[in-house]
Amino acid sequence: MSLNAEIADTGRFTEEQLAKYVIDATKDVFSTMVMMDPADDYPLKDPIHRFQCSITGMVGFAGIYSGVISIHCPVALALQITSSMLGMECEEVNEDLNDAIGEIANMLGGSVKQVLSKGGMDVKLSIPTVISGEDYTVNSLSDLDCVVIPFKVNDTKFLVGLTLKKED
């Protein structure tokens, strides 16, 4: 999977640079707010679009860049994440789970936005969106636009993906 050629051509970011930003942001958010230390396993060997018993949190960018940052993780791991963030046991898919995963996506979006926009006014972040289900697929309009980082924590894998397009 490779970064949008238009972004790479600007000379501002390589795919490896953006991957590093995503990895650093994810590790920072997890170590500070989730009290977990995930290990990255970049690059992703094969594209993953289908998720089972999972939850996906997404935040969109709009402005001089458009795109989405997303976190995809199994529900079992999401329950551990939510329990750790809230300091109380979370045992089922509910509003707390959705809110926690959405907030992680929001913090990841904020970190990446800082790289894309120094001033912060020319890129806007959306309110988080969360989807979950027993079997669903998530597709970007083009695989070429994505950088996806696999992580592992508590022996469970999760993914953080970044889709970006430089606007005219």
């Binding site: 958010v29 500070t32 809230l86 809110d99 913090m107 904020g110 001033g119 006014m121 972040l125 309110i127």
Partner: protein, 121 residues
């Protein structure tokens, strides 16, 4: 001692902020919560004795920047500190120009809360 209003659309984040305030050793009397700027204004209008506001910026219905402007337009001088994923210079300058005292970037540690809020509580 302080009565703190936390304005954030994430209930998870409101709980984390509340817990982090305690972990930072900051003494808080009451914590009030609001899910957006409109709810935040309602809490203030209800007469709750709020002595410090911690507000997100990106929220539905009424965002944090408009919330600050409305608080100041109502003549309320209560200190407001932004706790936000937004780290851009311009947007934080706008928050300060609108009446915010300071800002804290998410993610944050209890130590960072202590450093930024210790003098206000």
């Amino acid at each position: 001692m302080a009565n703190i209003l936390i304005v954030d659309d994430s209930s998870t984040m409101r709980k984390i902020i509340s817990r982090s305030l305690r972990q930072a050793g900051l003494t808080v009397d009451e914590i009030y919560e609001a899910g957006d700027g409109i709810e935040g204004l309602s809490v203030l209008a209800s007469g709750k004795p709020v002595t410090l506001i911690l507000s997100d910026i990106n929220m539905p219905n009424m965002d944090g920047l408009e919330f600050i402007r409305q608080v100041r337009a109502n003549g309320n001088p209560v200190p407001i500190v932004m706790i936000t994923t937004e780290g851009g210079e311009e947007i934080l300058k706008e928050a300060i120009a609108s009446g915010a005292s300071d800002s804290i970037k998410k993610p944050f540690t209890p130590e960072q809360l202590q450093e930024k809020l210790g003098a206000l509580i």
